[in-house]
Amino acid sequence: MRKGQCVERKVKISVQNLSVFFGQHQALRSLTMNVPANRILGIIGPASSGKTTFLRTLNRMNDLDPESRAEGRVLLDGADIYHPSQSAVQLRKRVGMVFALPMPLPMSIYDNVVYGPRLSGIRNRAALDVIVERTLTAAFLWDEVKDRLNMLALRLSGGQQQRLCLARTLAMEPEVVLLDEPCSGLDPISTARIEDALTVLKERYTIILVTNNTKQASRIADETAFFLMGELVELGETSQIFTVPCDQRTSDYVTGRFG
């Protein structure tokens, strides 16, 4: 399954036999895969194939659903994130997430960005100012909002809101950034801005990008995983997945024959 991968890379997240259930329904079926550090991993697959569930497992957002249950192991830098001694709150500071619908908190642009740092106890105004400028610049948003940082974030356009959410996630200095279809509601220009931001950001972060848009995966992902009905069908270098996939189902999906 891991054809075409010639360089051994540092593994950031190692998933071993992961199954996730919601009540009786099994959403993920015994997944085993490695997520390499400092690359963009694209996850593609049709609706309800478990992509989002997988993402939400990695920062334990599934814990919010009392019906959910995870089996198997997820190792972040070698430590099991579902181990009882691990705190979900601490984990979420290391593994940030950007959701499909941009959802700034009902406060100003500035307060949205510094929400995470403030939770970690940073109160110094100058330090916060630096974080705001750095992260908004990294999210390609600084030039558009630098004169109105005190404006209510909900008044930004959809694309700007999504980049704000990205900046907000970066402000926590996470190690991994999870993106759940971040461009599903955005126009092509906003999408391009976010993609540009991600290609730069992978230098510093490990990025996992769930997308319904196979083109997007082929544009920016270094590796691509194909999910189907809660199973990992294939994982490999993006170029290989899109040109010479090993599995017939992958081939059918990326060429648009089903899904």
Partner: protein, 307 residues
């Protein structure tokens, strides 16, 4: 092309009958419309009529005695034609304030607990029970106050027992359903995404509740408290039973007090002439206070939808 199944095929009936049907339907439509309009209008009309009636009886009195001496004089002695409702105004304010000090924090905390920290299945059992509290007649609350609360206060804190404190506690419990159900609705109306967003940024459950959810639901929570205040100001029966009804300015929470509403209810039965008018004027004052509180609540809720 297919006919969609829920559009019935028109029966092939004679033309005359069809037009007749159309006329009948049109008439029935109009009739129903006017009946409903009349019903809806009667509710508004009764509000207007009540307002007019109270104003008609009360305002001439206020003009005759003078607004200042009516509101700010402390002597209430109908036999000597002294009509100062200042002690009652103070009593109403204190009792309401006390009720809010007890009811608002408890109610808001209850709403947070119910929406954030309790599984949905349990909330579905608890919330209707709390709403049932609103259905208990106020006489029953008063009864509990007289039999349980007043003796308790008398024995452990001193004073006559029937007091400002007893009234505040009883009212504080009575407004709980109002505060809890409107606050839970406001909190539930906050998009779930806010909670997820805050949690995904590494906030703990409590941090995301008080920094994000309460902020987003703030106007609804404020509205619930203002509505509860309106209810507390207007409550009569329970207050008569537990507050002691002495016409004097309270100096401690253990003093007996008489509120504006209690004053009207206690004396209306035998009041005549100027005395009767004075009670109506008291009603005018109450009416104005409650109207102001309700408008504030509506304004607070509007601000929420405005955002």
């Amino acid at each position: 092309m297919q006919n969609s199944p829920n559009i019935p095929v028109q029966p092939n009936c004679p033309d005359r009958r069809r037009t007749q049907n159309a006329v009948v339907i049109w008439c029935r439509d109009k009739l129903a419309r006017y009946i409903f309009l009349a019903v809806a209008f009667s509710a508004t009309a009764s509000l207007l009529l009540i307002a007019l009636f109270i104003l008609k009886e009360g305002v001439p009195f206020i003009i005759k005695v003078g607004l200042k001496s009516f509101l700010l004089s402390s002597e209430w002695n109908p036999a000597a034609e002294k009509f100062g409702i200042y002690p009652m105004i103070i009593a109403s304010l204190w009792v309401t304030l006390g009720a809010m000090l007890i009811g608002a924090p408890l109610g808001v905390a209850g709403a947070i607990f119910l929406t954030q920290f309790v599984p949905r299945s349990i909330m579905r059992i608890i919330k209707p029970m709390i709403e049932l509290l609103a259905g208990i007649p106020s006489v029953v609350y008063g009864f509990m106050g007289v039999m349980v609360l007043a003796p308790f206060i008398r024995n452990y804190l001193g004073g006559p027992g029937l007091s400002l404190l007893a009234g505040s506690i009883i009212l504080g419990v009575m407004v709980l359903p109002t505060v809890i159900s409107i606050s839970t609705d406001a909190i539930n109306a906050v998009p779930k995404t806010y909670l997820e967003g805050a949690l995904a940024l590494g906030a703990t459950r409590w941090q995301s509740v008080h920094m994000v959810i309460l902020k987003a639901a703030r106007s609804g929570i404020i509205a619930s408290i203002i509505l509860a205040m309106g209810r507390a100001v207007g409550e009569t029966m329970a207050v008569i039973m537990v507050a002691g009804n002495a016409v004097r300015i309270p100096h401690s929470a253990l003093d007996p007090v008489r509120t504006l509403t209690a004053n009207i209810a206690l004396e209306m039965g035998y009041a005549t002439g100027l005395h009767r008018q004075a009670l109506f004027a008291t009603g005018v004052v109450l009416f104005v206070v409650v109207m102001i509180l309700n408008s504030l609540a509506i304004a607070a809720m509007k601000r929420k939808t405005g955002n």
